[in-house]
Symmetry: C2
Subunit: 402 residues, 2 copies
C-alpha cells in the first residue's frame, strides 16, 4: 500500500488535549460518582450571552429566507472585517488584509502549508502545541528526540521566571518563522511594548516573519500592554497575526477566527505573501459559516461587545480567585491578571505527577506544563474558563489537597 | 525576507471560481443594468427549507442556554455520524470511521497534508480543480507546463464521450492516490458498478488509495448506480470517501461535510491511516460548528431528509429543462439525469470563448470546461443550481443566442 507520511509518523501518538480528555474519561469510568472539575483545556463554559445568541438565531432564521440566505461564504463578510478592524486595530488595517476563518488553530495549519516544508520555525517553550505539531506534520522538522523531548530543526526559546517568560531571541537568528503567543498560552505572560519592539527589529534584521498569536488579547487589562503586534511601528513588514473569537466570545463551539496578512509583507523575491495566502485559502478552504460570521458581527457590535467585556471580567475574576488560593498555599504562581491562565509550579512533582495527583485526590483536571514543552516541566496550567460555582468548589479542593 | 514556497508559486495565479467571479463582476460594472444569470459555479440559490432551518435556529438558541451550549466540537457529534451512517452507508460503517468537517474541499486540503509531499496523484481530466491545486500546493508535483497546460508528476486520466467519461486507469499504475469524483464535477457522469469494481481491483493490484468524492451522490436517481465506493466489496481496504452537505442540503454557506477513512485501510508499514488522520485532524482542525452539526442532524432526520429529496428533484428538473433547450438547439450535451451538471460542447469555440460569448450576448455565466483540465476544452458546464424563474429565463436566452 501507500507509504506512511514520514512527517506525520514523527508526531508523538497523541495531541496533548485529547490525551488529557482520555485520562479524564478513564478516571470518570473508574470513579463514576466523582464530580470532576476541569481547570484543564481552555474551553469556555457558556452559555452565550443574550445579544450574541440573538445574532446567531437571527442569522439561522435568515438562512430560511431569500434575503438572508447565503451560499459560499467567500473570504469573509466585509462588515465583519470592518468591525474587526475597528475593535482590534483602531482602523489601521485594510479590511482586505483580514481573512475570516474557522479559528486560529485551523489557520496555523494552513499557514504552515503556505510557507511549505523548507522553512524553519522558532517557538516559545512552553507554548500551545499546535505550532510545533503542525510544523512537524508539514515536514519542516527533523525527528523527535526522545532524550531531549524536542524535534530536530525547531528552535525552542525557553520562557521561564528568570526571563519573565519572554525569550532571548538570539537562538532564532536563522529561523524563518518566529511564533510568539501573547498573552501566552500556557504561561499567561504578556509581551510588553519594549519586548515587541525588539522582536520586530530582530525579525527585520534576521529576515524572519513573526507569527503572532493574539487569541487572548481581550484579556489584556493593563493599558500599557500592546494588544496587537501591529501596534509596533514597522510590524506590517514582518508580521502575521492570528486571532480568534473562541475565548473572547466563548465561540469555541461556533468556530470563528481571522488572520491578518499585511500587504507590506513580502517574500524574498518581492512577491506578496497576502496574494499567496488568498490563493491557498481559495484552494483548500471554502469560507466560514455565514451564520457564524453574522454571529461574529453580533459580537463586535456595541451590545455584544459589552457582553464580551462582562465575560472577560468574569473569567479574570475566576483567575484572581484561583491565584489567591494558590498564593495562600504558598504555591509559586504567575500571570492571571491579563490572561485567563495561571502558571503554577508545584514543588517536588513533575507536571504529569501533579496532573495525576490533582485528578485522583481533588478530582481537578489541570494541564501538565511539560505538555507545552520541556521548559514547562514542573509547572501546571490552571484555566480560568469555568463557571463561578465550579471555580469556588475547585478552590476549596485545591486548598485541601495542595 | 523568507523564501516564497516554490510549490505555491507553481499554481496559476487564480483558482478557477474566483477568476470567473471576477470576470462576472467586471462585466456587471461595465453593464450595470444587465441581469446576469449564473449557471456557473455550483452554488445553491436557497433559501433553506423549513425543517432544516428550524434545526439551525434551535441549535443557535441552544447556545444561549446551559443545556444547549457546546464548547470545542471535537471530531463530530455521534448522533450526526450515526445518521450519516444510516442515510449514506446503510449502517455498514463504524461511526468512528466518519469524521465531521467543514466541507469536502477543506478535507481534501487536509488529506493532502496527511499523505505528504512524497505521493503521486492521478486525477480524472476534466475534474474539480481542488485536487490538482491542493496537490501542487502540498509539493507533490512538478512545474506547470504552459504548453501542455498540465503539471509534471500528476497523472491525468482523460474522460470524454469516447470512454463515457470514465477513464482508462492504466496510466495510474504508479500513482499513490487516485481521485475519482462521481457523480462527476464537471461532466455529471456517474461511475457504474462494473467501473467501480474494476477501480477497486485496480487500486488493490497497484497499491493505490482511491480518493472518492461523492459530494453529489444524492442526485443519483438510477437505482443501479452505486452512491458510495463502499458499496463495492473490498473498497474499505483501498478507499477514502469525501462527502458534503453543500449540494444535498444547500449548505454551501453553512459548511458541513465528512470524510470516511475505513479502519481496514493501512499504510505500507501496516499502520492505520485512520489513526494518522485523527492525529492530523486534532492538530490542524478544531471541529465543525456545533450549530452546523445540529443543523446537519436536522437535515438527516425524516422531515429534513424529505426536504432534501424535494430540493434534489427541483434541481434535477432544472437540469432536465436546460438539457431539453440545448438538445433543441442541437448542442452536444451530456448528463443531467443523475447529477446537477450538464456538460455541453459548443462547436467552433474554445471553452473560454463560449464563456465570453454567453456572458456578453446572453448575460449567462457558465463554467469553461478547460478550467477543469485540458480534456474539458471545447466544453462548458451548466449548473442546475438556480431558482426556477432564473432557469426559465436562462433557457429563453440560450435558445436565442446558441
Amino acid at each position: 500500500m501507500v507509504k506512511r507520511n514520514k512527517n506525520i509518523a514523527k508526531l508523538p501518538a497523541g495531541y496533548l488535549f485529547p490525551v488529557i480528555a482520555k485520562k479524564r474519561r478513564e478516571f470518570q469510568e473508574k470513579n463514576p460518582t466523582a464530580k470532576i472539575i476541569s481547570l484543564g483545556i481552555g474551553d469556555t463554559p457558556g452559555p452565550l450571552p443574550k445579544n450574541i445568541t440573538a445574532a446567531l438565531v437571527k442569522a439561522a432564521e435568515g438562512m430560511g429566507t431569500s434575503e438572508g440566505y447565503s451560499g459560499y461564504p467567500d473570504l469573509g463578510l466585509l462588515k465583519l472585517r470592518e468591525l474587526i478592524n475597528l475593535r482590534f486595530y483602531n482602523n489601521q488595517l485594510d479590511p482586505d488584509e483580514i481573512l475570516i476563518s474557522d479559528g486560529a488553530k485551523c489557520d496555523v495549519g494552513r499557514l504552515q502549508m503556505l510557507f511549505g516544508a523548507d522553512v524553519k520555525i522558532a517557538v516559545q517553550d512552553p507554548v500551545y502545541p499546535a505550532y510545533v505539531d503542525s510544523s512537524v506534520a508539514m515536514g519542516q522538522t527533523g525527528e523527535f528526540n526522545p532524550e531531549t523531548k524536542q524535534f530536530g530543526g525547531i528552535t525552542y526559546l525557553p520562557c521561564n521566571p528568570a526571563n519573565n517568560f519572554f525569550p532571548d531571541l538570539t537562538p532564532a537568528k536563522n529561523s524563518d518563522l518566529i511564533f510568539i503567543c501573547s498573552p501566552n498560552n500556557p504561561t499567561g505572560a504578556c509581551a510588553n511594548r519594549q519586548q515587541l519592539t525588539e522582536l520586530v527589529a530582530f525579525a527585520k534584521a534576521n529576515k524572519a516573519i513573526i507569527m503572532y498569536d493574539a487569541a487572548y488579547s481581550v484579556f489584556i487589562q493593563d493599558p500599557e500592554l500592546p494588544k496587537s503586534i501591529f501596534e509596533i511601528p514597522g510590524a506590517k513588514e514582518v508580521a502575521i497575526e492570528m486571532h480568534s473569537f473562541s475565548k473572547s466570545a466563548s465561540f469555541t463551539g461556533v468556530r470563528l477566527g481571522w488572520t491578518v496578512v499585511p500587504k507590506e509583507l513580502k517574500f524574498e523575491d518581492g512577491s506578496s505573501v497576502l496574494n499567496d495566502w488568498v490563493r491557498l485559502t481559495n484552494t483548500i478552504y471554502n469560507g466560514t459559516s455565514h451564520i457564524t460570521q453574522l454571529g461574529g458581527i453580533g459580537v463586535l457590535e456595541d451590545a455584544g461587545w459589552a457582553e464580551v467585556q462582562e465575560m472577560t471580567s468574569e473569567f479574570l475574576e475566576n483567575a484572581r480567585l484561583i491565584k489567591e488560593a494558590l498564593v495562600k498555599k504558598d504555591v509559586e504562581v504567575y500571570a492571571g491578571e491579563n490572561a485567563p491562565y495561571l502558571w503554577a509550579k508545584i514543588p517536588g512533582r513533575t507536571s504529569w505527577e501533579t496532573f495525576d495527583y490533582l485528578l485522583e485526590q481533588a478530582q481537578i483536571v489541570c494541564t501538565p506544563g511539560s505538555g507545552f514543552g520541556i521548559a514547562g516541566e514542573g509547572f501546571v496550567r490552571f484555566s480560568a474558563f469555568g463557571k463561578r460555582a465550579d471555580i469556588l468548589e475547585a478552590i476549596t479542593r485545591l486548598e485541601k489537597f495542595l
